[in-house]
């Protein structure tokens, strides 16, 4: 064999380009560049801070969805859990007169964990298909909130102060040329916290190994001694917990609590995670990819108008992105599998 041995640089580059995240990173860069050409205000620190704040909710939910996808499942009920946590914590705070954001988080997250436990119970004990189960719980949770708690929206005027204060809190304040201020929202700490927590769990704990194992091959994971039920309970309760956090952040941002909001946005979050390279069949996915996916979707959402397309194009574009993005990945996988005569495609 007289082929020259590729050098270390070439090998590293080859490995980098095989990863999905690299392509996504390139696409995000190119996309940002194009937008900056059309609208120079895009590439400013203020815009970056703004983007961080508005994509915080989705980023946090995406971490939860990543866990679920890694384990080979899919969860569409997290939006109902988020809005349930939000609506109930707002109302409870109003009724009890307590004005503490920590209390709000406590209520929202506890409720989120409880609802996540319902999901976990059905999926792990009864081995139900995750998509249909979570479709059922989405409907059940949302219907229950609207029916048993109510449909009355809470206006800014009646909203407890802690939410409004929290929403405006910045950890870093800079001044614009005209004297007014802008800042990096405290939300970024939450994003960092959740991302680090996710990273630690996935990288350094047996629990994380278990998540990948179940997604890779459930039978094998079971026989290796992983506690399937325990891991799945953790996953779905964690999703509920994150949904609870997102709910409080959401109401703090828009200062309006309407139990009909958030539900319906499941597609966008799943799109972001899947775009980031997570396989829907499980066992494969990275945090970096997910974050890039969230960034991509949010940049797209905010800047469609700048490219000259109205917000009506949003749904269409998200759907198109999913199709194009995943087709590319799955086609590669299909070709590679058939070359190696692998017929069970995971």
């Amino acid at each position: 064999m007289d082929r020259p041995v590729p050098g270390t640089l070439q090998r590293t580059l080859k490995r980098v380009f095989r990863r999905n995240e690299s392509y996504l990173f390139l696409i995000v860069i190119v996309f940002s560049a194009v937008i900056t050409l059309i609208n120079p205000t895009f590439l400013t620190l203020e815009n970056f801070f703004d983007l961080t704040k508005s994509s915080a909710g989705m980023a946090i939910l995406a971490m939860g969805v990543l866990f679920v996808l890694l384990s080979g499942g899919i969860d569409v009920s997290f939006t109902a859990i988020a809005i349930a946590g939000q609506y109930i914590s707002v109302n409870l705070l109003m009724v009890s007169g307590v004005d503490n954001i920590g209390f709000a988080f406590l209520i929202s997250c506890s409720l989120g964990i409880a609802m996540g436990a319902v999901n976990a119970f059905l999926i792990s004990l009864f081995r139900l298909p995750t998509l249909i189960t979570t479709l059922g719980t989405l409907s059940a949770f949302h219907g229950a909130i609207l029916y048993f708690v109510g449909t009355k929206a809470v206006n800014t005027g009646f909203l407890p102060n802690c939410f409004k204060v929290f929403g405006l809190k910045n950890i870093l304040v800079l001044a614009r040329p005209d004297g007014t201020n802008y800042g990096l929202s405290v939300f970024v700490l939450f994003i960092l916290g959740v991302v680090v927590l996710t990273w630690v769990i996935l990288r350094f704990t047996i629990l994380g190994r278990g998540i990948y194992a179940i997604g890779g091959n459930r039978e094998a994971a079971e026989r290796s001694g992983f506690n399937i039920i325990g891991v799945q309970f953790f996953i779905y309760c964690f999703v509920g917990f994150l949904a609870g956090i997102m709910g409080v952040m959401h109401v703090s941002t828009i200062r309006y609590s309407n139990p009909n909001y958030i539900v319906g946005d499941e597609l966008a979050v799943i799109a972001a995670v899947v775009l980031g390279g997570a396989r829907i069949t499980g066992g494969s996915g990275t945090i970096l990819g997910t974050l890039l996916g969230v960034a991509m979707i949010n940049i797209l959402k905010k800047n469609l108008i700048m490219i000259g397309l109205s917000s009506y194009w949003e749904q269409f574009f998200i759907g198109l992105i999913i199709i194009v993005g995943v087709s590319f990945t799955y086609y590669q996988n299909k070709v590679r599998s058939s070359q190696r005569l692998i017929f069970i495609r995971e």
């Binding site: 499942g73 009864f126 081995r127 719980t137 949302h142 799943i270 829907i280 759907g319 995943v326």
Partner: protein
């Protein structure tokens, strides 16, 4: 214990019980001709979507985009019906426009289904993801075209499809029964139908048996799209208007009915007879709820709970028959 038909027998018992209970509770309002006619005209919309869902489930997939296809085709038909019919319309001219609208809906729905099938079969994208994406695509198109507004007032003759009657039986019900019969024969007697069952049961075995998996899958989703297109015609005709986002509750109901009717979400089994009984059960409950003036939110809650309950019961029954272990191997 009861053999292959255990699911159908259980369903029949449930159906009988539900009808008896509701009739017993509300004899005056429920057991009337008007109520039956009303039920018969509501069934076709989600019934056709349920058949579409069942067909895709039989092959081991799912079609989350059926309602979006309905929306898109409905919008296109609605536009044709309103833009091409002038105030001085002649009878022949109107008939032509109506035929064109129906044709457009059918053709577009099959194209949408083809795209679905293509992404699933050729790119190897799992159906959940593919139809999740195309759902956004089609609904997005519908929103772009209408800018969110509704379209109203269709020609009189067109409304016959949705509101007319043949004797005492509402027209949409006739269409639905026809489609259901064709689907039943198709699934059990034609080569394609049997191939679908086999593919859903074991895709690798079916591939090595010589069945063209890709072809079967593409045609499956095309059929699913076609049924969604027919449903859209009935839908817009019944309500005499169309706006994007209409009918989204039907997605959950279609899945509920498919699962209730005994279809195995992991593929390989599905029966139109079971589906029909599931549809009857759902519609009877729906009518009962309407007569009792249940809140739409409570209904949403109930459908969710019912779907979960049905899945759990199926699991229990399957476990009893010793098939749970094998079922647990497939990825969700």
């Amino acid at each position: 214990m009861l053999g292959r038909h255990s699911k159908l027998i259980v369903l029949f018992i449930i159906m009988a019980v539900v009808i008896s209970v509701i009739s017993g509770f509300l004899p005056n309002k429920f057991l009337t001709l008007i109520n039956f006619q009303s039920m018969a005209s509501q069934i076709p919309e989600f019934g056709l979507l349920a058949i579409a869902m069942m067909v895709t489930m039989i092959t081991g997939g799912i079609d989350l985009s059926v309602v979006s296809i309905t929306n898109l085709c409905g919008v296109i038909s609605a536009l044709i019906l309103t833009k091409l019919v002038g105030p001085e319309a002649l009878a022949v001219h109107t008939g032509g426009v109506i035929a064109l609208a129906i044709m457009a809906s059918i053709v577009l729905s099959v194209i949408c289904g083809f795209i679905n099938g293509f992404v699933v079969a050729w790119f190897g994208v799992p159906p959940i993801l593919a139809t999740l994406g195309t759902q956004g695509l089609y609904l997005g198109l519908a929103i772009i075209i209408t800018k969110g507004y509704g379209i109203q007032d269709f020609p009189e003759k067109f409304l016959f499809i949705g509101s007319g009657k043949i004797g005492v039986i509402p027209m949409p019900f006739v269409i639905f029964v026809f489609c259901a019969l064709v689907a039943a024969l198709f699934l059990s007697r034609t080569k394609l139908g049997l191939s679908m069952n086999m593919l859903g049961s074991n895709p690798i075995a079916s591939r090595f048996s010589g069945i063209n998996n890709s072809g079967v899958l593409i045609r499956t989703y095309m059929i699913s799209g076609l049924l969604a297109g027919i449903s859209s015609i009935i839908m817009i005709s019944r309500v005499n208007s169309m706006r994007p986002g209409y009918g989204y509750a039907y997605l959950l109901q279609a899945i509920l009915v498919a699962v209730l009717g005994g279809t195995d979400p992991s593929g390989g089994y599905g029966s139109i007879l079971g589906l029909a009984m599931g549809i009857v059960i759902l519609q009877v409950l729906q009518s009962g709820f309407n007569i009792l003036s249940f809140s739409p939110f409570f209904k949403k809650f109930i459908w969710g709970v019912m779907l979960l309950l049905v899945m759990v019961i199926n699991f229990a029954v399957a476990g009893y028959q010793g098939r749970a272990k094998r079922r647990g191997v497939r990825t969700p």
